[in-house]
């Protein structure tokens, strides 16, 4: 009842309520027979796998019986069922060891999200109009199978595409296999912040095309070039565990952390020393430090013989990288460079890390190789290593080229899974135009987002907690890790797991596809893939396959005994000379470097629909529910921009508006914006909120790998309005707070 009506007719309603007695609406619901019997009030703990980032942490789900409003057999009613109440880290899991980050914790809300797509739906209006109608699964699947059949029959099987965010585990296997036998090209993996550059660099330097693992618990000194390894980069939980140990886990031994970046990240905020370096020049700085080490013979040159050979001039002691020369290029003083070289080599166990923005320049690979060379030079105790893998399956990699291919030659039919390029790819890549040309798009999305709003048919996937989950850890552990979990709860809605749908489609398509995918359900496929691990030394020591399968489900996966995967001889390649980063936009017109960064709350934006994360104050700005742009206070003064003002950020590609946050942790010639807000259409919590910095990125790529150089755009700033227009919600200091609180001591 509405409030105003209440007051008007409160007396009347009192009488009505008296007549009505004690009946209330809920009691008129049908109650369905429970599908699963749990003891009420007692929590059951079930393992699962976290899917919100690629780290692949192990979960424990606290499941308790509750009463849910559901639709069963077309009728609405109440059912007693196991409900997931809380996610914790799985203490046995080698990656996260019982710990879990904010995003992982909040992923629970994906299960109960009020805007989940609860039934298969078919588009009725124009594309993007958001008009859908519910259809039943049989019809939906028949329709897709018919399309697949027609496509194959007409000899254009190659015109089927599958676009997904990079996955891990058997889902990759399943999708790839399906496409292969069907005759389609391999899946297109896309996410905005991909790691192709670093994987390539690591392949060249260390022989592993993978993200590195850092045993920070053994480090005495860490120098990190741009990687927000405590916040969002690589395997943040595993790295945070190591960080805690590196700080206070060893009595009397406290490591130093030096962070080099032009915008202070969460990791930078924790560093003992924070050094601003000119964007894209991190590699030069690393080589400047290496120069001092080599020149003063602080470490044997041979220590980095392999990785050094990839850098031109290494053998000669990097003559071009004298501290003074480097100071000119990077803005970091020669004295600091020299001091860092001494500190790095004098500390017991040092490590150099790179990740994030330094790789997102046109010279990203050079930066990575340079830091890798420095790493080999100073890392005496193998703080950096690589997580062993069970097979030689390389991690799947986001590919801008493939996305380009999609735009260049739109396929006849597209499967869409957990990828949202309309939000996360710069418009300059013309994905929207490509999608418009594809006649038939099928999405497995659980939510309407910008991309799945374009779909012709949506076959909603189960939430992760309702599905069989598996993943392979690329990094974060000294063991090979295969995480596995059965569904923690029964499905709430009329959804079906994507793998099962794909297997079912395979059967309907028949022929080779059905033969290649003989499993009835995904768990059968998982079992077939995992059971061979029984004979390998690891966390499960049982006699039979059945026991292994059961134990893996209870434990939340299988992991090998610890074994460090050592660097292997590097791939031969001509040495690289220093390359300057290129930027889109002339410095005169666009005076500011623009850094879109992975949000602590929303990752690449795919978590913006979770209310817990929307209301999570950003730890550096304390902003909630908002978009903002970080500006140095001096720059703000110069441009007449005050805290909370509305600012237009314009690049050659377009402009966005966001509230200004004046932050001392950013260089005066740079502005930064978190990625995540600015969704046009992504549930009630994210739609129409803030601005999307990815939408003004220039389509520059890293020269060698072709991966998106997302830090290579330049912008200009202008104040366009006051705080009323900007609507910046800060947790700290109330409505008009300023971030420079000085705490009285």
């Amino acid at each position: 009842m509405e409030r105003r009506d209440f007051i008007k007719i409160s007396a009347l309603s009192g009488v009505m309520a008296t007549l009505e007695g004690c009946r209330n609406a809920e009691k008129q619901f049908i109650r369905f027979v429970p599908e699963e019997e749990l003891v009420p009030g007692i929590a059951t703990i079930k393992p699962s796998v976290c899917t919100v980032c690629s780290a692949g942490c192990g979960l424990l789900v606290r499941v308790m019986q509750g009463e849910a409003e559901v639709v069963r057999r077309g009728q609405q009613g109440l059912i007693k069922m196991g409900l997931a109440k809380k996610l914790e880290g799985n203490p046995q899991h080698p990656v996260n060891q019982g710990k879990l980050c904010a995003r992982g914790q909040a992923s629970l809300q994906m299960l109960y999200h009020p805007d989940r797509i609860t039934h298969p739906t078919k588009r009725t209006g124009a594309r993007g109009s958001g008009e859908f109608q519910t259809i039943n699964w049989d019809d939906a699947l028949k329709e897709v199978a018919a399309h697949l059949g027609t496509l194959q029959a007409s000899g254009s099987a190659h015109s089927l595409a599958f676009l997904s965010r990079p996955l891990s585990g058997q889902r990759v296997e399943l999708i790839s296999k399906f496409l292969k036998v069907y005759g389609a090209p391999p899946p297109i993996w896309y996410q905005p912040f991909d790691e192709a550059v670093l994987r390539q660099a690591n392949l060249l330097s260390f022989g592993h095309a993978a993200l590195p693992t850092f045993d920070l618990a053994r480090a005495d000194y860490a120098i990190c070039f741009g990687a927000d390894f405590l916040g969002t980069w690589n395997s943040p939980v595993a790295q945070s565990i190591g960080y805690g140990e590196m700080r206070q886990g060893r009595p009397g031994r406290r490591a130093k952390l030096v962070q080099i970046e032009a915008r202070m990240s969460q990791t930078g905020a924790n560093a003992d020393e924070w050094i601003a370096c000119r964007p894209g020049m991190e590699g030069v700085l690393a080589l400047g430090i290496a120069h001092v080490i080599l020149a003063e013979k602080l470490a044997p040159q041979a220590a980095a013989a392999r990785t050094g050979s990839l850098i031109a001039g290494w053998q000669e002691g990097l003559p071009g990288y004298t501290p003074e020369a480097v100071e000119k290029q990077t803005g970091v003083s020669a004295a600091v460079i020299k001091r860092l070289a001494h500190e790095l080599t004098q500390s017991g166990s040092a490590v150099a890390m790179i990740g994030g923005p330094p790789l997102a320049h046109t010279n990203g690979l050079f930066n990575a190789l340079a830091v890798n060379a420095l790493e080999s030079l100073v890392d005496k105790n193998s703080v950096l290593s690589f997580t062993p893998q069970v097979g030689d399956v390389a991690p799947v990699q986001a590919s801008l080229a493939a996305l380009h291919g999609l735009s260049a030659q739109p396929p006849q039919m597209l499967f869409l899974y957990e990828a949202n390029p309309l939000f996360s790819a710069p418009p300059a890549l013309h994905v929207r135009e490509a999608l418009a040309k594809i006649p038939y798009i099928v999405s497995f999305g659980s939510f309407i987002d910008e991309t799945s709003a374009q779909a012709d048919l949506i076959l909603p996937d189960h939430a992760a907690l309702e599905s069989w989950m598996d993943s392979v850890a690329e990094s974060g552990s000294s063991r090979a890790v295969v995480s596995l979990a059965p569904p923690a709860v029964l499905p709430l809605h009329d959804t079906r797991p994507m793998p099962d749908v794909l297997l079912g489609l395979g059967r309907q398509v028949g022929g080779e596809v059905a033969k290649a995918l003989p499993w009835a359900t995904y768990d059968a496929m998982l079992r077939a893939a995992l059971v061979p691990l029984r004979t390998r030394p690891g966390s499960i020591d049982v006699k039979t396959d059945d026991d292994f399968w059961d134990a893996a489900q209870t434990q939340g996966g299988w992991w090998s005994s610890p074994s460090i995967s050592p660097p292997v001889p590097a791939v031969k390649r001509a040495p690289l000379s220093a390359v300057s980063p290129q930027f889109a936009g002339a410095a005169a017109d666009f005076p500011f470097y623009f850094l879109p960064y992975v949000s602590q709350s929303f990752g690449d934006g795919s978590l913006a629909h979770l209310p817990w994360l929307q209301e999570l104050p950003d730890v550096l700005t304390s902003a909630m529910w908002s978009s903002w742009v970080e500006i140095n206070p001096k720059t703000g003064d110069r441009l007449g921009i005050k805290q909370g003002d509305l600012v237009e950020i314009a690049s050659e590609q377009g402009s966005v508006r966001a509230a200004a946050v004046l932050s001392p942790g950013i260089a005066p010639d740079m502005v930064a914006m978190p990625v995540g807000q600015g969704h046009e259409n992504f549930t009630r919590f994210a739609s129409g909120r803030g601005a999307n910095p990815l939408s003004i990125l220039a389509p520059l790529t890293e020269q060698e790998t072709g991966s998106l150089a997302w830090a290579a755009t330049r912008v200009k700033l202008a104040r366009t309005g006051g705080p009323e227009q900007a609507r910046l919600v800060l947790f700290a200091g109330g409505m008009s707070g300023f971030p420079h609180e000085e705490q009285p001591r």
């Binding site: 009030g41 308790m64 509750g66 849910a68 409003e69 109440k85 809380k86 880290g89 996260n96 019982g98 879990l100 980050c101 904010a102 992982g104 914790q105 809300q109 299960l111 109960y112 009020p114 005495d220 405590l230 916040g231 939980v237 945070s240 565990i241 960080y243 805690g244 700080r247 206070q248 130093k256 202070m264 969460q266 990791t267 905020a269 924790n270 924070w274 050094i275 601003a276 500190e343 004098q346 500390s347 017991g348 709430l492 602590q600 817990w612 929307q614 209301e615 999570l616 104050p617 730890v619 304390s622 529910w625 206070p633 001392p664 950013i666 919600v729 947790f731 409505m735 971030p739 705490q743």
Partner: protein, 235 residues
């Protein structure tokens, strides 16, 4: 011996990742305020990570400081409550009895840490988000103060379990939601009266301070100061 629950916050370990904040929301049925209410200063975070800037570019420094209810032994919030809704339990917890609270909000004003929150409205969850609510914790209705309870539901569950098994509680047998999630182990919870517990050991660390200790509130949360890196000791 009776328990005395306490916590250690190691500022040198804390990375400001805010896993604790979401963990607390999930565990304790803390409603999401929404943008409008958050803009009015009514977002509820029983634990928050405060951030203090020191210095300017190019040498800015940041201090993170998780602040939750300090469970003071001499809590300013307790004597001011006219109905005993805010009182001290025998186990040293600074408890808020929801059903006894009439909502004077005096306790929140008296609290120097600003860790008490008021239900300005009845909380709301868009269905079916409410299915996540923890049945072990009350859903607080309008007009009531609430605050960090040190996850009293977990304390009670563990105590009942230990009693059923006729044994003493073990250190580390359970912990609060925030401490459980904390990746860098910056939050340590336990029994201060158990001299062998980790929290008791860390509380007596020479890095230990109390937040606003000069006010004499005698908090049961100890902050361990950030360390410094000394080049000389790493020769």
């Amino acid at each position: 011996m009776a328990h005395k629950w306490g916590m250690v916050v190691d500022l040198d370990r804390c990375t400001g990742c805010e896993a604790c904040v979401v963990a607390c929301h999930a565990e304790n049925n803390i409603p999401t305020a929404g943008e409008d209410q958050a803009a009015r200063g009514r977002a509820k975070h029983w634990i928050r990570v405060e951030r203090y800037w020191e210095g300017d570019f190019p040498n800015p420094r940041v201090r993170f400081q998780p602040v939750l209810c300090q469970q003071c032994d001499e809590a300013p919030c307790e004597p001011v409550c006219p109905t005993y809704a805010s009182y001290h339990t025998p186990e040293g917890l600074n408890s808020q009895v929801y059903n006894r609270c009439i909502g004077t909000r005096f306790c929140a004003n008296a609290c120097p840490y600003n860790v008490r929150f008021f239900n300005f409205y009845n909380p709301e969850w868009d269905k079916p988000l409410q299915l996540q609510l923890n049945p072990d914790v009350s859903v607080r209705s309008v007009g009531i103060m609430e605050k960090c309870t040190f996850c009293v539901q977990r304390i009670k569950a563990a105590e009942i379990q230990a009693e059923a098994e006729k044994r003493e509680l073990k250190d580390g047998e359970f912990t609060t939601a925030c401490a459980q999630s904390c990746p860098s182990k910056a939050l340590i919870f336990g029994d201060l009266n158990d001299s062998t517990s980790e929290v008791a050991r860390l509380s007596s660390s020479n890095r230990g301070t109390k937040l606003l200790g000069e006010l004499g509130t005698k908090p049961n949360v100890t902050y361990l100061e950030r360390g410094t890196w000394d080049n000389a000791s790493h020769g």
